[in-house]
Symmetry: C2
Subunit: 406 residues, 2 copies
């Protein structure tokens, strides 16, 4: 008898009809004689509606009270799912964060799970029940309700799967799995049957967010097999697992892209120790996330430094960068907001040199100009003009043979 942890997001439980579908799916899994733990998000727009109410009354940065408020959405959907399962003849019990023993630190609105006391979950399972757990929440050492931040229910599910030593954590969502590229851009894109944790993390941070990065990290840390699959059909999804368990090593697993990019360059920055620290610490203090960074070769003891940020942060970053230019005595700055990033990701890259060369070659072949390059062990990213991004993704997908069956 295996144990499966399943997670259903807000869009999967947005209406009573959808809740009934979800319950049928749960009973299918349970029907094979297995134990099932279900993690649910709040129904559809519940969380947004509550935030809207709160905005009319006070400061939504009062995180302790906001957590108290928002956590009710998941408690409601958990209770409704349990009611529906019982009605369909499947014994079930709902648990909220504190009943499920989910202990977090005290960082309201972005708490981290520290431990899970699984006593009550075990009790429910041993009584033959499906245990439905409110996702996204836990309790702090002070006994306050905490929430886990963006994608928190994914993290709840993976953490529960780790602690319960589940066979698999199944994340039901509105996509079929992880694709070799965005199917809206590459019509030959294929769904991957499996992908490694590291590849998933690179894909997720590049905008292919089918699983929240925090949940993927958690899965990697505790070695939990996670399957991402659709709530709306019965197709098998993509299994996120460790490299060693994957059926086949691929050099390149997918092509990811991101158009939410802006590029900023500083000219003639004096080459003194601590200069980079001034630039990037100042930006971090303002909450501006820097992605790629490139420092050009030194000329006359001065460097050119270029970096990318999220495009939507550009207007906020601009005056900050101007100040930095003055402070450091650089000769000026330039920026470009119509750029995009394309990346090839693959665990096999580590042992297969030549991927970078092939990538540049494919882009050059299409006359695509590369503004910046950055590499990690399993990823190579290039910044190109936004107008070129579609052609770039298609060219790379073809170049690395991703349209061919594994």
């Amino acid at each position: 008898m295996a144990l499966f942890v399943t997670k259903f997001g807000g869009s999967s439980v947005a209406t009573t009809d959808k809740i009934k579908n979800v319950c049928a799916k749960i009973m299918d899994i349970k029907g094979q004689g297995d134990n099932v733990v279900v993690v649910v998000s709040a129904m559809g727009d519940t969380t947004d509606d509550l935030i809207e109410l709160a905005e009319k009354l006070g400061d939504i940065n009062q995180h302790r009270e906001m957590d108290m408020l928002l956590s009710t959405g998941e408690q409601q959907s958990a209770a409704l799912l349990a009611l529906c399962l019982i009605e369909m003849g499947c014994p079930a019990v709902s648990l909220n964060g504190w009943q499920a023993g989910i202990k977090t630190d005290g960082q309201h609105s972005k708490a981290r799970i520290k431990d899970i006391d699984i006593t009550r979950i075990k009790e429910g399972l041993e009584a033959g029940k499906v245990v439905v757990i409110a996702g996204f929440q836990g309790t702090s050492p002070a006994g306050d309700i905490t929430t886990l931040g963006r994608g928190g229910s994914d993290t709840s599910a993976v953490a529960l799967a780790a602690k319960l030593k589940a066979e698999r954590c199944m994340i039901f969502t509105d996509v079929d799995g992880v694709y070799t590229a965005d199917p809206r851009i590459v019509k030959e894109a294929r769904k991957l049957s499996d992908i490694s944790y590291e590849e998933m993390l690179e894909m997720a941070s590049l905008g292919a967010a089918v699983l929240q990065p925090r949940a993927a990290e958690f899965a990697m840390l505790y070695n939990v097999d996670v399957e991402v699959r659709s709530s709306f059909n019965n197709n098998p999804g993509t299994i996120i697992t460790e490299v060693a368990k994957m059926e086949k090593q691929r050099v390149v697993s997918g092509v990811a892209h991101d158009v939410n990019v802006a590029r900023i360059a500083l000219f003639d920055v004096p080459d003194n120790p601590g200069v980079a620290s001034v630039i990037f610490k100042t930006l971090a203090d303002k909450g501006i996330n820097v992605d790629m960074v490139i420092q050009s070769a030194m000329r006359d003891n001065r460097n050119d430094i270029a970096f990318t940020i999220e495009r939507k942060e550009f207007e906020r970053a601009r005056p900050v960068v101007n100040e930095i230019v003055m402070k450091l005595g650089a000769s000026g700055m330039s920026y470009k907001t119509d750029v995009a990033k394309v990346s090839v990701v693959g665990a096999g890259m580590q042992t297969n040199p030549g991927v970078a060369g092939n990538m540049f070659d494919a882009l050059a072949h299409k006359n695509i100009n590369i503004h910046m390059i950055s590499t990690s062990e399993i990823k190579i990213s290039c910044v190109v003009d936004e107008d070129d991004i579609k052609t770039a993704v298609q060219a790379l997908h073809e170049k690395f043979g991703l349209d061919q069956a594994e």
Copy 2:
């Protein structure tokens, strides 16, 4: 520095504007340098909306899951009130049932409060905060969320006032207090400045429900002074207290009435031991509440037995009574659904004989026929035709001088 426990019902917190008004009121009370604990119900129709959702998915008699679901309404309004108070410059913290230490038995949907661990409430008060507590809920010995049933938030407030030894429990509602009669029927009706627990219980059970009977019982048991007053103005309300503390002893404090009444009579019931038990136990087993009971003088070893029930239960009671008639060998039954009950209530009755006589006299003077009479130590009730009820209430209000200032 005194401590006040205040309670605001669902209609008082139905909109964000109303919540702001409630917060201003709380700050007024707190502003005098006192400590304030606030008990809130769910906003407006929240509970009904949740029940409607649940009905579409399963059985709303799955009380454990329903309690899990419905308790979120109060948790939301508590968090919203705390957010609003903080925004207005008043430190505040919200607590749900388990955080407030409200321990109940395990009877889901109608749990009874067993004890309150006030540690966290004290902590909040000692930190100078208004403590906002989700009403209507607690936790069972098994660690499940329970709800207290109809009027549960009133009970939460009175129990908290008792345990915290509060100066007073203030129940803010949509009426100004307890009146000598229903002001819609008697335009001379006056608001009482005080009323005894016992009188309040009699009034409440007679339909003048400004305070839930269970809360009034709790207040009597623990000797808590309860003030019922309006959320929408600043008028003083009515204080419910022990007789000894009342300013003035009155013979009659008020005239209550109830039109939700049906009368059933059984003819020629054999006068054997256990007969009454058969009738009333059978009805109780079907959940039908019997109010007044009258057994006429015995003739030929047979009795006539008449009783009243809630009119809305009549259709359900009718076949049950028919069965009883067959079973006991009575000669038949009759019923009347267009009757009503009028009562005079007063703690002073115990030492002032003659109230009953005056009552019958006043009714006779208006040609009102009395179908049944029942008396307790502080109440006399008569069943009359529903068409006569308005005249009856007015006549009794005048007869006992209730229109004159105390």
